[in-house]
Subunit: 601 residues, 2 copies
């Protein structure tokens, strides 16, 4: 069974040495407290992930969820783990004190989230979905809704869901058919079918708070006619506790490739009582409050799974004896060398390492932006929000794409054994596969990045970010030992702007050029952004090594990983740059009817 | 449930228009017969794949295999399908007439094999493993062994396995522990445990013929001390039929990520009676006869799965309505446009199409080499064997790597539905995942290509192949409409040689440079080789379009796919070229003990 140890050393490196989290927290209102508790949170979170969640991960995959008589049974131990999570006060950590929260910065929750995703992704989605619901209620709910629902969600005794998708529409929410009929008392009767509802039904919590997209009777067509409703599994009674059963039920559970421990439900709403969240027909905007946080959360899932896979493939690579190194035996006393001596095994390990650590830096940088948006001054908040908007689709798409690649490298290191369930490596791959899909596929993230975040304001936001990289390169290029990083980074950063301009010009002629370039553009952007963080990490390492440190091996490894990233992974930008500028014709020339002529004739 | 239609139009394009199969067959001894039966084989094979195997594929995945009281139960319908296969005379098609075969060229079997792999990979492995056993017996067995075992295998009433791997060794077969003790009567008592034995136990056939690697008591250490034995499940009786049970049993079935319909067994040999195949201590060489054919077979699996995935993702892309095209509605009468209008969906479809059709061309080219090795004149056979040796690891590694990518693109086109088992797209992904591992991982194929096939004879074999491409480019560059292909192909072909030289020079200083470059070198080679076939296919299409044809749409699609390949996939060579020349230091610099410092401290 796979093991997991929270990478506290590296999380601290990123927080303290790379991103100056102490100063960051001190600049936030009430941030002193965050500085005080960060160590306790890291250590307690690590214990929970290592000792409680990790042992439940493989059994949870094997047992899955069961639906009987409308009741969903989750894998053994999941409910108890959730109780421990609630008792530990984790759900309330980053929530509003007015409704029972501890008011700590969101970034702390994101640090914890990496550990949860590494140790048990399927379990993590039960509390994970509550975050979206809390976020929507916090920003768009009335005080009464907040008192009734947010308080319980923050307490953790109730959990939440996001009910968006219907059988005929996922990406295109303008097509939804779920209806909400207004009642005289201000409530609504919600009817319709929602699919792919993660944590849609279970008995881990006393009640489930569904955030549901539906249409009012007089709603305009399309995405401008969608409203958001809160629809609880049990209607709150006079004391605000779970009371009478509402008209919501789980019709069936999906049989999925992975995340078997999470109940993915078809949810039937049959004149269920609900209340509107936010304004009529503005539900999509309210939902996006949930979506953005959720998208970063899925990026963290990608990175967390890489870390988990890496730790286990590393252990195997050190243990498994097979063949001699081409350059001569490295462990002559053994029957063969451990496979970590083979360059190609190292290539796979380093790919995992570089994406996990680089991804962590990107995520925790994004986490600071989230803190600033929430707690910063108006101007700081606005500025952070802009960059956060730019980075969110990259975090989501890039880290899940490389997450799938890297968990597959982990499997590959095990050879044929990687294909066997017992070792757990194929579970990481199956679990990682969903991250490229939900909360908006890679293609959708890419359109968001290139279409909305970059081109819609003529690249102004991108310029702010590339300017930051440009300044960094200018400064560091004065250090000789940083040339190997600053020079290629500077060139790529410049090219990034040029490619953007080129695609933007083409898009003025033909809007399809955006869709034709978007995914390659997103992957390119991800590689450049990670290169920016790897340069900074290399700089810190170089400095430490020059000054002298009792952790020389740690900093040398950091520097070596940066070099690996620049030498072996960053050149992929060449392929993406060529593909994204190949033009829409290479995709659109073929007539739709001709795609199948090879087998239809 | 997924559907499948054998791509006969495209198979005929490759056989007749691209590779001149009629002339190829006519040049083989007895090849006239192949010309006569090829159509019947294509059409009967298509029916069998479409109507018999395809409907069993998804149920087979869901039912899996079961072991009870030493007996393995295969999914429903598998045994009956195998009986039909035997009754149809398929096992004997390309086998030696002396032992009951029809003596048709092997290439015909490979054409059939694509269809089997597309329609039901797990089922296909039951007869598939027999091929390896037949090949080893044919080339290395005594006449007596052939009469006893080969005849039955060719008839199909008995099936075969390859028993190589043991718990502690897969790649490194020199470490095997299975023992073979000589008996007075010339037989051997074989004892040991083998794992990952595909089709190791079942009751689909009357007997199972295990080809087992084991060590003689006085064998030299390592891979020079391995011998090959035939060990049947039932000892043949006086009539040559399955008689007394031998000391072979299935200890357990592996729980795998995919190919659930195939029984992957732990096989225990307990003083089982066996007979040596070939010379003592030369078992590895005899096994390689089986391995090379098996490796091409796995490449076909990769390509076959792409084709199956493509056909289903295309159907979905035409059917699923979601969003409007960025350039304006394409199906204004519908609620939304079919997703095939979106450029990124087309990018994924075309990626599948380009790899499937390009892969088919490469495979059927390789198939001609197999025919020539088997049936050609001494000189033609030797020449073919050399190029076949070069291409085999590329067929295996490249087509399974892109096979995994392309089946994942197929899943991705389905959005969240792709993750749901019902649609069958995730089964293609899970089934495809094994192909990167078994019969030698991608890393092992890459060492075979770069280390053995290319560098061991100073690139002489490679030169023969690049010279062929060079000549092709010279000729076609005279046609103006071929410039777009001939120019980039010619440049890459030249670069291929230069990169090889560079790595070869580095490897003289440090053997680890081979391992450090090998996988990127293999992928690079694959992209160039496919570009060579795509150029040829484009040339044929251009010619047909210029001449006029009543299949204009087919040839235009072929040309468009070639252009897509050159514009969007071929640029990946840039990333691989950079990575392969990055040097071994980027992989070996880090101290082994430092890999885990991020989480071990």
């Amino acid at each position: 069974m796979p093991t997991y140890k929270a990478p506290l050393r590296d999380i601290r490196f990123v927080m303290n040495e790379l991103l100056g989290y102490e100063e960051h927290y001190k600049a936030l209102p009430g941030g002193e407290e965050a500085v005080e508790v960060v160590d306790a949170i890291l250590e307690e979170g690590a214990k929970f992930a290592e000792n409680v969640l990790t042992p439940l991960n493989q059994p949870g995959d094997q047992q899955g969820c069961k639906l009987e008589d409308g009741k969903v049974t989750v894998p053994e131990g999941f409910t108890e783990a959730y109780q421990q999570y609630v008792e530990g006060g984790w759900p309330s950590m980053a929530q509003n004190p007015e409704f029972g929260g501890q008011g700590l910065p969101h970034s702390l929750g994101m640090v914890l989230n990496e550990m949860i995703c590494s140790s048990n992704l399927a379990w993590g989605m039960y509390p994970g979905l509550s975050h979206g619901a809390m976020s929507a209620l916090e920003h768009h709910g009335t005080d009464e809704l907040k008192q009734t629902y947010l308080t319980k969600l923050i307490e953790g005794t109730w959990t939440g869901t996001m009910c968006l998708t219907e059988p005929h529409c996922g990406t295109d929410l303008g097509l939804i058919k779920t209806k909400a009929l207004p009642e005289a008392d201000g409530s609504f009767k919600v009817s319709g079918t929602k699919i792919f509802i993660s944590a849609g039904e279970h008995e881990m919590s006393d009640n489930i708070v569904h955030l549901v997209l539906a249409k009012l009777p007089d709603a305009p067509a399309g995405s401008k006619g969608i409203s958001l409703f809160v629809v609880p599994k049990f209607l709150p009674d006079a004391q605000g506790e779970a009371g009478e059963r509402n008209g919501v039920s789980c019709g069936s559970l999906e049989h999925k490739m992975g995340i078997h421990g999470n109940s993915t439900c078809v949810m039937n709403f049959d004149s269920a009582t609900g209340w509107m969240v936010g304004q009529p027909n503005k539900g999509l905007a309210a939902m996006f409050t949930m979506m953005n946080a959720a998208r970063i959360g899925v990026g963290i899932q990608g990175q967390g799974l890489i870390e988990a896979s890496y730790q286990n493939s590393l252990a195997y690579a050190r243990d498994r004896l097979q063949m001699r190194a081409l350059s001569g035996p490295k462990a002559p006393e053994k029957a063969a060398d451990p496979i970590i001596v083979h360059p190609d095994v190292r290539r796979m390990l380093l790919t995992q390492k570089a994406f996990s650590e680089g991804g962590r830096a990107l995520i925790l940088y994004t986490a600071q932006l989230v803190d600033k948006v929430e707690h910063g001054s108006d101007e700081a908040s606005k500025e952070a929000d802009e960059i956060l908007g730019l980075l969110t689709p990259v975090v989501k798409a890039f880290l899940t794409e490389v997450g799938f690649e890297a968990t597959n490298e982990g499997l590959q290191i095990f050879g044929g054994h990687g294909f066997i369930q017992e070792w757990g490596m194929e579970q990481f791959v199956r679990d990682a596969r969903i991250t490229r899909l939900y909360e908006g596929t890679t293609g959708i993230q890419a359109l968001d990045l290139l279409g909305r975040k970059v081109l819609m304001n003529q690249g102004e936001t991108l310029k702010k970010f590339t300017k930051q990289i440009h300044k960094y390169c200018q400064t560091t290029s004065q250090q000789e030992n940083m040339h190997e990083f600053a020079k290629p980074l500077s060139e790529l950063n410049k090219e990034w702007g040029e490619l953007t301009m080129k695609i933007g010009m083409n898009a003025m002629q033909n809007r399809d050029e955006v869709g034709a370039a978007a995914v390659d553009y997103t992957m390119y952007s991800g590689y450049v952004i990670l290169a920016y963080f790897w340069a900074q990490m290399a700089e810190i390492a170089q400095k430490k090594l020059a000054e002298g440190t009792d952790e020389q091996a740690y900093y040398q490894a950091k520097l070596d990983t940066a070099r690996f990233y620049y030498a072996r992974l960053l050149p992929r930008t060449r392929a993406h740059a060529a593909a994204m500028t190949a033009g829409a014709d290479s995709l659109l020339a073929m007539d739709e009817s001709a795609f199948g002529l090879c087998f239809e004739v």
